[in-house]
Amino acid sequence: MKKISEGAEAVIYITGLIGREEVIKYRKSKRYRVKELDDSIRKQRTKTEAKIQAMLYNNGLRVPPIAMAGRYWIAMEKVEGDTLGAVVERGKRGERKARHLAGIFADIGMQLARMHALGIVHGDFTPANIIVDKKGKIWTIDFGLAEFSKSNEERAIDLLLMKRAVRKEDFDAFERSYSRALGEEAKEVLDRMHKIESRGRYQTRTLATS
């Protein structure tokens, strides 16, 4: 088992035990929390994450299928590809045609619309959490902050996190496709997004994009 990354909440390992490569996400214990609280947060979040990810997969969304889940860990298939952050960077250097990027962003808009229609918000919908595979198909990863919610505010924040991190023309392609796929409800989400932006705090919000 090889550790490939470590975030604030979880450690990601790669393992080849079951024949092909799999990703294991292990939710760490936090010594600063009292044991009962720590344990309940880790269990609850792991459970919700696995449940949401499995539900999205079963509904045909492109998310890594879950192989197994324990109390504090989830094992899932590894998705091969680059993060959207890396792809956008390459696009900036002129290595990819703008038309290709527009297709990718339209795909992302549709995936998010379907997620929202199923009553789920991602909670951390940034280019770091989208993988573009070899065929140019996009996969959404990391449902650690995802929730069951149909709130326009939380849906709008999913859109806003993406908007803050990408070029205007890319977001436009994303937004068009999102609106088409979600229909009437999308209007309310976009209205809410503009309201949140006018509150000011999100205008200069810094985000990790890689």
Partner: protein, 327 residues
């Protein structure tokens, strides 16, 4: 280079004197806290009565004569209007008497800057926890140097939340300190825990704690669980910001930063990632004048001091609106 700072945003009238970054005096007159909270006009009257003598005491303690002062700073906000007004007028009068410049200072920036000054830090992540505010902050240079709010409470500040609970439990509201005393060695009861990325909310937690008291759970257990839950939320949000922004240090400042338990939790969190944690001595986390002097000196010694703000007060002065003109 000697600077005097006047703080009067709430129940403390504080005067500090700083010489080239070194704190020479930090004197306070404090309106006694009661369980009824603060009546603005009464506190303003108290400040007015104590202003001159507090300034004299600070000068004496620092062994500095009035005419040796080079610059004056005062708290522009955020805070209680009538209280802020007394400090502003005292600063303007003092500056006029010695014919020296006067600078308005943001209260929250001052809490952070004094901590950085004491430990010689440049660019830490800052958790600011006071009565009315709870924010995760870091310096951002665009479009102008300022403290950017990476995360904050969506409803009430952690200090006010602890105080509201203290009143419910029949304790004196003192920014968490009375709650901390009864919270020792309680038993943990599960409570609503709400963190969204780097933001958080406290009202659900407060409502739940009040309900548990009514059900007859012991004050000790409820206070313990409330404090553990609230501080864990702050710690988690700060941890996420620390990892995302890749800062090397984290500080905590503001009234609630006097909590030993919060400091202990942040220390454990920071060291688990190989980061350093700092908290200033209590006298600088309670409201004080020295922190205002520290910032006023930075503004006065920076080449851009000419572009000064209006010498007004602003009760709702947002931290991100204060320009760090020395950077």
């Amino acid at each position: 280079m000697i600077t005097i700072g006047i703080e009067s945003s709430a129940h403390t009238f504080g005067v500090g004197i700083v010489e080239d970054g070194k704190i020479l005096a930090n004197v306070k007159s404090m309106y006694p806290i009661s369980d009824k909270g603060i009546i603005p006009m009464k506190v303003a009257d108290f400040h007015q009565k104590h202003a001159a003598q507090t300034i004299r005491k600070a000068l004496k303690e620092a062994s500095v004569r009035q005419e040796e002062i080079d610059a004056v700073g005062y708290t522009k906000g955020p805070g209680i209007g009538p209280c802020l007004r007394v400090g502003q007028l005292a600063a303007l009068a003092f500056a006029a008497a010695i014919a020296k410049p006067v600078y308005p200072v943001n209260h929250a920036v001052a809490h952070i800057e004094v901590t950085k000054q004491i430990y010689g830090l440049k660019d830490p992540l800052a958790l600011y926890v006071s009565g009315g505010n709870s924010q995760i902050l870091g310096i951002d240079m665009e479009p102008q140097p300022h403290y950017h709010v990476y995360g904050e409470t969506f409803d009430i500040g952690v200090g006010n939340m602890l105080d509201s609970f203290a009143r419910e439990a029949g304790l004196n509201p003192a920014w968490g300190s009375t709650v901390a005393k009864v919270a020792k060695d309680g038993e943990y009861i599960k409570m609503p825990y709400t963190v969204k990325g780097m933001d958080f909310t406290f009202t659900g937690l407060l409502t739940n704690a009040a309900a548990l008291l009514k059900e007859g759970r012991s004050i000790g257990d409820v206070a313990f669980s409330l404090q553990e839950t609230a501080f864990s939320m702050l710690c988690e949000a700060a941890e996420r910001a620390l990892m995302l922004l890749r800062k090397k240090e984290i500080i905590v400042s503001g009234g609630v930063a006097q909590s030993e338990r919060l400091a202990e939790m942040l220390e454990i969190m920071a060291s688990s990632h190989g980061k350093k944690f700092y908290v200033a001595p209590n006298e600088f986390n309670a409201d004080n004048g020295a922190m205002i002097a520290v910032v006023a000196e930075k503004i006065h010694t920076s080449p851009k001091k000419g572009v000064s703000e209006r010498l007004s007060i602003n009760q709702k002065y947002r931290i991100n609106d204060f320009k760090l003109s020395w950077l």
